[in-house]
């Protein structure tokens, strides 16, 4: 436990000083990594620990992003205060989605959530009075709500966005850590490993599985909200099916169930294209090569799954139970 806390402290310190030597551009990129990180944490809770797959987590991010955008654009709310509201709205929708999900076995839950993520942009376009349709909602030019140009604590705009995202990210990380080490997390893992054994031990399966959906969606909502604040713009194309699949890759890279791995997954999502660009004669200005490598990484990870699972259980699962 002490070692883990020390590790957390070191990473947090590194993240805190990181933007100062970096360019504004990299700072923005790293702020986006923070949003991915939070979404992947949420996906870890759901898929890694409760064993329910979601191919549509981008949809919950969209709920959070649009909650923030609508509150800021139409109701003049300060950006920071929209984050908890986005979490609450996405969490509530997650709880509601968790109930029908109880009736679907893994394969069909994957199908249903995939469908939701594919369909979501068309629904956002349909209800354009509320969502701004295909044009989306712009959040630029609102200094009173964003603090842009005002300067908070002497930080530049981008440094402020970075600080905001990663402060929330650290809070989410500690929350996920605590949740997963508590009775809640133990119950989820018991259900994942054997529903029958969990039920026989008195774990309320339905409540915990729905709860996992709610928590996971709330994390994604926070991530979507921060994403919207960072980009200062949301549109149906901000949250395509590719985003949901990308998050899944991030979660798988996070060795399923390791919340530290979420950081690695989030970094990979943002910086894989830079890595691929190092290969000679490959032009990463177009998305193709990066996407190809991204898919191949996932394929390779699944082929190595038996090994990965063994590693993951050796590294992480012991840690959670020992910590208490």
């Amino acid at each position: 436990m002490k070692v883990k806390l020390a590790g957390f402290g070191l990473v947090a310190l590194a993240l805190a000083v990181l933007p100062f030597p970096l360019s504004e551009f990299r700072t923005v990129q790293l702020a986006t990594v923070g949003a991915y990180f939070i979404a992947i944490l949420g996906l870890d809770v759901l898929t890694g620990h409760s064993g329910q797959i979601s191919l549509g987590h981008g949809a919950f991010m969209a709920v959070g992003g649009y909650t923030t955008a609508i509150l800021m654009a139409d109701h003049g709310v300060r950006d920071v205060w929209t984050i908890p509201i986005a979490a609450a709205v996405a969490g509530a929708i997650g709880l509601a989605a968790g109930i029908p999900a109880l009736r679907l076995s893994g394969l069909y839950l994957a199908l249903a959530t995939f469908g939701i993520a594919v369909v979501l942009p068309t629904i956002l376009k349909k209800f354009d009075g509320f969502t701004g349709g295909s044009t989306g909602i712009t959040l630029f030019g609102k200094p009173a709500q964003t603090g842009h140009g005002v300067g908070v604590w002497g930080l530049t705009n981008n440094q402020w966005l970075y600080a905001l995202t990663w402060t929330v990210g650290a809070a989410c990380f500690l929350l996920a850590w605590w949740l997963l080490a508590s009775r809640f997390g133990r119950s989820l893992r018991a259900i994942r490993d054997s529903e029958l054994a969990a039920a026989a031990s008195g774990v309320n399966r339905a409540a915990y599985k729905v709860g996992a959906f709610g928590v996971s969606a709330a994390f994604a909502g926070v991530a979507g909200s921060l994403y919207a604040i960072n980009v200062a713009y949301v549109s149906p194309d901000t949250f395509p099916i590719q985003l949901s699949l990308t998050l899944l890759v991030g979660a798988v890279v996070g060795l399923y169930g390791s919340i530290w791995g979420a950081l690695l997954g989030a970094l990979l999502i943002q910086f894989l294209s830079d890595l691929v660009g190092l290969v000679p004669h490959v032009d990463t200005k177009q998305a193709g090569p990066t996407t190809l490598v991204f898919g191949l990484v996932l394929v390779a990870l699944m082929l190595l799954l038996p090994l990965v699972l063994r590693l993951a259980s050796a590294i992480t699962d012991r840690g959670y139970s020992r910590g208490r």
Binding site: I53, A112, V118, A287, L298, L305
Partner: protein, 293 residues
Amino acid sequence: MTNFLQQVVSGLASGGIYGSLALALVLIHRSTGVLNFAQGEMATLSAFLCFTLVDHGWSFWPAFGATLVLSFGGGVALHSVLIRPIQRGPLLGIVILTIGLLIAINGFDTWVWGGAAKQFHGPFSTEPITVGGVAFSKQDIGVIAVSLVVVALVGLLFTRTKLGLGLRAAAVNPVEARLVGVRVGAMLAVGWGLAAALGAVAGVLAAPSLFLEPNMMQTVLLYAFAAAVLGGMDSPLGAVLGGLLLGVLLNLAGTYVHWIGGELRLATALAVILAVLLVRPAGLLGRSLVRRA
């Protein structure tokens, strides 16, 4: 009435495409128990292959035939190299692997052919033919004809040949099939090959009306899933009927229910998926294999 008939025929044409892809999904689901999320992108890749052959001066039908053969080979290779090694692992692992394939093939297509939409000239002209005052597009009629012929051929293969018997045996009861001398591994590989070829049919038929681009089949995949779920995930006949039914249903809903229009077409397909899964998981013709958690 005229409009109604036109909508039905064009719905059957899209339905033929959905049905072909749904049949591919069902073949794989029946034998391997997996939902192949890469089926749509595999079909797009096949369509790009056909496009490239035609672009190099081949005429359409030879190019189409070559595409089917190549796709079949690709499907067999895919099963042998990627699926077979983890066949005994958790099912969701294989499903996630197909998602990796989806992403990888999409990236490959974008890399090689670019993201811009391409005009793909099919074998059928788009000009209308008029029957009893109702104008049908030749392309729609052609698409319906080709998809029905292909589906009928697959049906004959399964019911009238020894290979088909082996395929069915391997899917229904692999252990006993192996005991009576069916080479189950080879049968599963052939199943993936057939699915890839069926997907190629869907992709090549869809390309002229949808414009060829890397994301072309993403929505079609969802329609195909809806068709397969509607017909019953383990019923090949159900998949084809489900496809035709869905195509007509979506067209009519889009035309006559103003609120749905063209915009909520995809959402309607999702509603079909959710409704069937929650109310009657076996679908119209399937046996109750879909397990409720």
